[in-house]
């Protein structure tokens, strides 16, 4: 690929980088809440668009897990890196990847973050150092270790946050990666989103040790858990974790105990868990918890309504951006297979 072409590709992704950390050691509850609302409403719109046939392929929604990405990624600066899972819309939005190009990606448009080549599971965004979007459970962990290795070898005080689900902890790549990161004292935050189900297989049906922090700690890695439904609890736990990683002591493992309110993907009939269980968790909906907290802090209903209105407008704009998008010419099919576009 020519330099001009590469520049053009990069320019296609808007350069808005909103990865600002909350100032100092205190979270900004309104900002955190707003980001969670953005993810929730974005995902709800995705579900509608999927049902309408506009979004195709696999679609894994982050609804119920918003507090995790929002609470963790608030601690990263622009030079830090994020390695995500296939349930990556929330992680991308929380990182500051703009909603329009994410939506356009799911529409398969040229204006998508990956020019329509990745889709829902493979969101990548160089300006925010967002390294995808991995459809292989556990596949992102070695990548995160390598990003941290590069930082370590180049003397950069950066943090790589690696998201994965508890299902990934049954994969060899989890054990290989956390061992390697611990052995070489690499700056990785291993962030386990424990939503209790690996697709349809419950944690206690796939793990002999269900205390995940105990498993991780066996690699001599500081490891603890937090309430993944409470964004302030996540924020506090991640604050400590990110600071520890940034201090150069090596990796940290943080488990966020969370729950997805929707099925694994839009294909999933959700036969493996009870309605009662889902309802029980919905009582601890991260948005509900935060609304109560905001009310207690004096943020009135009108202010919350304004947040909803702003978010609705942002999502409408994202959908409009995607709808106005164009199809990449089929003549470009073989582009980006190699950097010089040479194909065989």
């Amino acid at each position: 690929m020519s330099a001009a072409r590469r520049t053009a590709v990069r320019a296609a992704a808007p350069e808005r980088v909103d990865v600002g950390r909350s100032a100092g050691a205190a979270p900004d509850p309104v900002t955190l809440y707003r980001r969670m609302v953005l993810i929730r409403r974005f995902e709800e719109r995705c579900a509608e668009l999927y049902s309408a046939g506009t979004i195709r392929g696999f679609l894994h929604l982050y609804i119920g897990e918003e507090a995790v990405a929002v609470g963790v990624l608030d601690h990263l600066g622009p030079d830090d890196a994020v390695v995500a899972t296939y349930r990556d819309h929330g992680q991308a939005l929380a990182r500051g990847v703009p909603a329009g190009p994410i939506m356009a990606e799911m529409f398969g448009r040229l204006e998508g973050v990956c020019r329509g080549r990745g889709g829902s599971m493979h969101l990548f965004h160089a300006p925010t150092r967002f390294f995808g979007g991995n459809g292989i459970v556990g596949g992102g962990l070695p990548l995160a270790v390598g990003l941290a290795l590069a930082d370590h070898m180049q003397g950069r005080e950066r943090v790589t946050v690696c998201f994965f689900g508890e299902g990934a902890m049954a994969e060899g790549e989890f054990h290989e990666s956390i061992n390697l990161a611990a052995l070489w004292k690499l700056p990785v935050l291993f962030l386990c989103e424990n939503n209790l189900y690996a697709m349809g297989t419950a944690l206690d049906r796939s793990e002999s040790e269900t205390n995940l922090a105990v498993k991780a700690a066996s690699y001599e890695v500081p490891a603890w858990s937090c309430d993944g439904m409470d964004v302030l609890a996540v924020w506090e736990a991640a604050h400590r974790a990110v600071e520890l990683v940034r201090s150069g002591g090596g990796p940290v493992f943080l488990e966020a105990k969370t729950y997805r309110f929707r099925a694994h993907s839009m294909y999933d009939p959700d036969r493996y868990r009870s309605k009662e269980e889902i309802e029980h968790w919905r009582e601890r909906d991260p948005l509900l918890l935060m609304r109560a907290r905001l009310a207690a802090d004096g943020v009135d209903a009108a202010a919350q309504d304004r947040i909803e209105e702003e978010v609705a407008a942002e999502i409408d704009a994202a959908v409009a951006f995607a709808e106005a998008g164009t199809d990449e010419p089929v003549e470009s099919l073989l582009a980006f297979v190699t950097s010089d576009e040479v194909t065989s």
Partner: protein, 332 residues
């Protein structure tokens, strides 16, 4: 009067010199893999590099192929230029997820945002009585995958020269080194010449038949060509060098002239690299052929330990001679 005595070198030393040179030229280059440091490499290739470059740049990795190959990919994304050594192709199967799902796909999946400049080296091949699990020739698996460049240095010059351009490639490069080549001796290559990593090489010219091969089979093909020359048969020997993307032009030009082709590949025949090469010849040179394309491949068997059985399983000069006779003796 002064004389310079070329004391020669080995394939092993050539690979080592290539790595040493690359690490001296670019501080982003580092070597990572199993036993590459204190042990000196499973095949002694990296002996002495730890002493020269230290533990930061010659990194002994645990037996975690997926993690250290994936870490090489991640480090490449982070601005380094890693050389990842996987001891053998037999073990790389534990890292195929990282190579196929990540390294090869990332540039495309990301819409051109993230190129992966990693080099992954490994030995391949049999012939040393190492039995089924240590004798694979699976380089065709990598040659199957868009997004990878696959190199098979068959000569000391290529062992010395291919690494640097591979490191300059912005995309992932797989280098397969046949294990039986490491002790091969020859004159030290001229390092002032740029080495191409996109073209096949005509190693011997001939008018009667084109024999296409790569890697560890080049030697036995050249031996066969010598024997056939004594019978008055001129064999043109093509060393593919680059298994992906294949250099069709060099093969086609030769076959159109000789009108006969034999493909020699230590991999299995079914679904193998030889099948791809033969199919391409059939697609583009069908009307130029005076005989069906012949193939000499490994027998369809897990490679056995016993010497006589292993010899029977793998390509040999005698089998190449027979295949060439089959092609040449047939009246077109």
């Amino acid at each position: 009067m002064t004389t310079t005595v070329d004391t020669g070198t080995t394939y092993r030393e050539a690979v080592r010199e290539a790595m040493r040179d690359a690490m001296r030229r670019d501080e982003r280059v580092f070597l990572m893999g199993e036993d590459v440091g204190r042990y000196g490499g499973g095949f002694g290739v990296s002996l002495g590099l730890l002493e020269e470059f230290g533990e930061e740049r010659v990194r002994d990795a645990p037996l975690s192929e997926s993690a250290f190959v994936g870490a090489g990919i991640g480090a490449a994304l982070g601005g380094m230029r890693p050389i990842v050594e996987v001891m053998t192709v037999n073990f790389v199967m534990l890292a195929l997820d990282q190579i196929v799902n990540t390294a090869a796909a990332l540039l495309h999946m990301s819409g051109g945002q993230f190129a992966v400049p990693v080099v992954i080296r490994m030995t391949t091949g049999g012939g040393r009585q190492l039995a089924a699990q240590h004798s694979h020739s699976l380089e065709n698996w990598f040659a199957h995958v868009p997004g990878l460049r696959v190199l098979a240095p068959a000569t000391i010059a290529d062992a010395r020269g291919m690494l640097w351009p591979a490191l300059l490639d912005p995309d992932p490069v797989i280098i397969v080194e046949h294990g039986s080549l490491y002790n091969a001796k020859g004159p030290a290559p001229d390092t002032s010449l740029a080495v191409d990593i996109s073209r096949a090489a005509v190693r011997r010219t001939g008018d009667d038949v084109t024999v296409v091969t790569h890697g560890g089979s080049l030697g036995l093909v050249e031996e066969a060509a010598e024997r056939l020359a004594a019978d008055g048969i001129g064999v043109e020997v093509i060393d593919l060098r680059v298994l992906r993307p294949l250099d069709d032009a060099t093969v086609n030009e030769s076959v159109r002239r000789t009108h006969r082709a034999v493909v020699v590949d230590e991999g299995w025949r079914t679904g193998g690299l030889s099948a791809e090469v033969a199919a391409r010849i059939a697609e583009t040179c069908f009307y130029d052929l005076d005989a069906p394309v012949g193939r000499v491949c490994a027998a369809e068997v897990p490679i056995p330990y016993a010497r006589h059985l292993e010899e029977a399983a793998l390509p040999s000069a005698a089998r190449v001679v027979a295949a060439v006779h089959e092609a040449v003796d047939r009246r077109g």
